[in-house]
């Protein structure tokens, strides 16, 4: 069940909130686990069983690793075996060439454990932390299970370390005011996904339909802009819906996409795109890799490789790996090229170009396709044609709105207005606006039941 489905908005969400408020506070974590398992069961019984086994196995191995470590024996055995199982699981489901594996275990064809990319990171991170002694194994099975399967963060994170997660659980604030804030965030995410992202997808898929030899530079640029914005609005929309749902239950999760686009450093773009995941790769892959050598060149290679792995995690293919490496390369080059005195606008421009390249590689399925897209961007097949102007005419408003809301400008504007006398008016308008947007989104959802998206199955 997607967060943006009618069944979730008008069924699961209000009912689970009602259940949550009816159950006394001391049982609320149990209730949330029950709801999360129900949520999994709503995609299929298969998924529910898969998750139950996954949680029990990882939980046992966490405890075992800690126990053996305390005894002073080789804790690497349970650690390594569990990490290998977890990694195999993610490969088995996400990599297209692992078809044979799925067939041998007789998984139903349509079965895909959505969110596997996120909960694998959580599980593997926790195991490593326990082994390194940075974290005690959680004895409370309910809390550990919630860490893996809590439904508001199942699909799009935020990815975080267990200590952080348990702190958020402890700091729960129940109340109707929290639910109000949460629903506002939820509706914001809904608007991002259903109205903006799905409309941008139409532009992207229109450009995608054109044969490569008919792509003019400006059309390609429009298509790629639509792609990157669409990716941003889809993912951050889903993240916001999850974050908003968690807020409804009184848990405040961090934002995974604090305005990554239009930054003046690539480094800022990369660290703000799925913050939790970037952090995970920094802690568990990049740091250990780069600190293993003192040779600056080898460190650079490791640095770029680590970014490539993040790209590969994002899109299980060679183009994803290349996209990640591009970001890694540009970040390391940035330090040399852009001196402190460089104008912000130059930085923004460079970041845009790097983002564009990243987007091209993410959107294409093979390196040669991506290269031919890049040559189209350089005007190999002409600069603009009548089609370009048609797209501009039809989509200029949408693109302008999307760009505006992808920059922090909109947020700053609202903040500023709130501080002035008009602030009181705005806070009165907010509830009405949220309701109006919920109604419009419902109209969009019921019309676009089978809307395609650019999202990879994460």
């Amino acid at each position: 069940m997607e967060y943006s489905s009618l069944l979730y908005i008008y069924g699961f969400l209000p009912i689970s909130l009602a259940v949550y408020y009816l159950i006394p506070k001391k049982h609320s974590e149990k209730a949330l686990l029950g709801l999360s398992m129900l949520f999994c069961g709503f995609s299929s019984l298969y998924f529910l069983i898969f998750m139950a086994v996954y949680i029990l196995l990882n939980y046992t191995m966490c405890r075992l690793t800690e126990y053996i470590k305390q005894k002073g024996s080789i804790a690497e055995i349970p650690l390594a075996s569990m990490v290998i199982i977890d990694i195999t699981a993610i490969f088995a489901f996400r990599a297209p060439y692992m078809e044979w594996f799925r067939n041998t275990v007789h998984a139903p064809e349509i079965f895909y454990p959505l969110g596997i990319s996120f909960f694998t990171l959580s599980a593997v991170g926790m195991l490593t932390d326990i082994y390194k002694g940075r974290q005690k194994a959680e004895k409370n099975l309910i809390r550990y299970a919630l860490y893996i399967v809590f439904f508001p963060r199942l699909y799009m994170g935020p990815c975080m370390q267990y200590s952080e997660f348990s702190k958020i659980l402890d700091r729960q604030k129940r109340g109707f005011a929290q639910t109000g804030t949460g629903l506002c965030i939820f509706v914001k995410g809904l608007v991002k996904k259903v109205i903006i992202a799905d409309s941008l997808y139409l532009l992207y898929s229109a450009v995608n339909k054109i044969g490569h030899e008919n792509l003019t530079a400006l059309t390609t640029l429009l298509g790629m802009t639509a792609y990157i914005l669409c990716l941003y609005f889809t993912m951050s929309g889903i993240a916001d819906m999850g974050r908003g749902t968690a807020e409804c239950f009184g848990y405040r999760f961090p934002d995974s996409f604090p305005y990554p686009l239009f930054r003046y450093r690539v480094r800022l773009f990369a660290s703000r795109w799925l913050t939790g995941v970037t952090g995970w790769f920094r802690t568990y892959i990049r740091k250990p890799l780069t600190s293993s050598s003192r040779n600056p060149y080898i460190r650079l290679v490791f640095f770029v490789l680590a970014w490539g792995m993040l790209g590969f995690w994002f899109k299980f293919s060679i183009t994803g790996f290349v996209a990640g490496m591009i970001i890694g390369l540009v970040i390391s080059a940035e330090g040399y090229i852009l001196k402190k005195g460089t104008l912000k606008i130059t930085g923004v421009f460079c970041t845009l170009i790097a983002t564009l390249l990243w987007g091209v590689f993410l959107s294409e399925d093979s390196i040669s396709d991506a290269l031919s897209m890049i040559s189209a961007l350089f005007g190999r097949y002409g600069f603009a044609d009548s089609l370009t102007f048609y797209f501009i005419r039809a989509y200029i408003l949408l693109l302008a709105i999307a760009v505006f809301f992808a920059t922090p400008a909109a947020k700053k504007l609202i903040r500023k207005a709130e501080r002035q006398k008009t602030g009181i008016v705005i806070s009165f308008i907010k509830p009405v606006l949220a309701l109006a947007f919920l109604i419009i989104c419902t109209a969009y959802i019921s019309a676009n039941q089978n809307a395609d998206t650019v999202l990879f199955r994460l």
Binding site: Y10, P14, A443
Partner: protein, 377 residues
């Protein structure tokens, strides 16, 4: 104050969600939507296997969305918002200045089934076979669509299809006739199909190939049956700002008359019917007024004083075309393979007829019901 407002938000939004959910749960469940002209999803079966593989829940999802309270209102709101914000595509339909056009024609990849069946039919048949493949409104009015939707135009699809049909079959170039006359009202504004006038224009050519002189246009009295028709493109968008369509009957007062018109269902039960069913023009899919509710076979006998018999194998495009043929043949047998089971020979002895006309819309070329192996087995 701020806390109060937040609570107010929660009450407002949750209240709305719950009331929509409640209204949906309590409202009368229809099995069919006339506005969208389709059957609505029924409640999924709760079985162990459907729960295990998740099909129960995806079924529930479609059920919820099909039976959402005031569903058609939601849809038409969305179409209007899209149009206002400059987005012209809704649900695969292009909302143009004065008409709706199907935007998905370029995605159509013709599988060889139609060619295979037509060639096999021609091989086993003693008489002459004529084929007319009719483009959709998007094919004829392609210049109203943006270029990226025209990568694979219908003119090319039809000529490709004709190229693969054997040379014994006479092919009728409906596309160019219609394209030349596209200043006229030859296609509906809210449907992919042609109007009676479009059908008449093609009839003039077809009937000459079949060996007759066409009835001149001025001999007809044209009756407007309704001006409220909204067709399949409306069903997909529920967009109402396009003018609704006219449905006309071309009557030839001094011409030949239909003596009997008998339909038979799948089991061979025969029933008398009329060439036009006025009741169908009152609501629902009004185009079905031509030849009435779809049936597997219709046998039409006329006062024409010749021994000529014609077999027509067709889809719904032919419904407004057949009436023109009644001026020339003593007997016409119309078979709609979409509504039959089993073999063609169960319904008509094909070698009784000297001529066979196969007429269908290019949009149905991949239809598994229209072209299936059992037809000729």
């Amino acid at each position: 104050m701020k806390e109060m407002l937040k609570k107010l938000t929660a009450v407002l939004l949750l209240g709305f969600m719950l009331s929509v959910a409640l209204a949906t749960a309590l409202s009368n469940k229809k099995t069919r939507s006339d506005e969208e002209n389709r059957e609505l999803e029924s409640f999924p079966k709760f079985t162990l296997s459907s729960v295990t593989d998740g099909s129960f829940f995806s079924g529930l999802e479609s059920y919820a969305s099909d039976h959402l309270f005031k569903r058609s209102k939601w849809l038409s709101v969305k179409s209007h918002i899209s149009r206002e914000t400059g987005e012209n595509l809704v649900n695969g339909v292009f909302i143009g200045e004065d008409s709706l056009l199907d935007a998905e024609m370029s995605d159509r990849e013709i599988n060889g089934k139609a060619v295979e069946i037509i060639n096999a039919f021609a091989d086993s048949y003693k008489g002459t076979v004529y084929v007319a493949v009719i483009p959709t409104s998007s094919g004829v009015y392609g210049d109203k669509l943006p270029a990226y939707l025209l990568e694979n135009p219908e003119s090319r699809q039809i000529s490709g299809l004709y190229g693969r049909i054997s040379d014994d079959v006479r092919k009728i170039d409906a596309y160019n006739i219609l394209k030349m006359l596209n200043d006229n009202y030859i296609y509906f504004r809210n449907d992919t199909k042609w109007t009676s006038y479009g059908a008449y224009c093609v009839y003039r050519t077809v009937i000459q190939k079949l060996g007759f002189l066409p009835t001149p246009y001025d001999k007809y009295t044209i009756m407007h049956i309704t001006d409220k028709f909204r067709g399949n493109l409306y069903n997909r968008t529920l967009y109402t700002d396009t003018k609704s369509d006219l449905i006309d009957i071309y009557d030839y007062p001094n011409g030949e008359k239909v003596v009997s018109c008998v339909s038979s269902d799948k089991y061979g039960n025969k029933q008398k019917k009329e060439l036009y069913d006025m009741k169908m023009a009152e609501n629902g899919y009004m185009y079905d007024m031509y030849l009435g509710e779809p049936v597997p076979v219709i046998e039409i006998e006329t006062t024409v004083n010749n021994e000529k018999k014609l077999l027509v194998i067709k889809d719904s495009y032919a419904d407004c075309f057949i009436p023109f043929l009644t001026q020339h043949y003593n007997k016409i047998t119309v078979v709609s393979p979409e509504f039959t089971d089993g073999k063609l020979s169960d319904y008509a002895d094909i070698n009784d007829y000297e001529q066979t006309l196969i007429l269908f819309g290019i949009e149905n070329v991949n239809s598994e019901k229209l072209f299936r192996d059992e037809l000729l087995s």
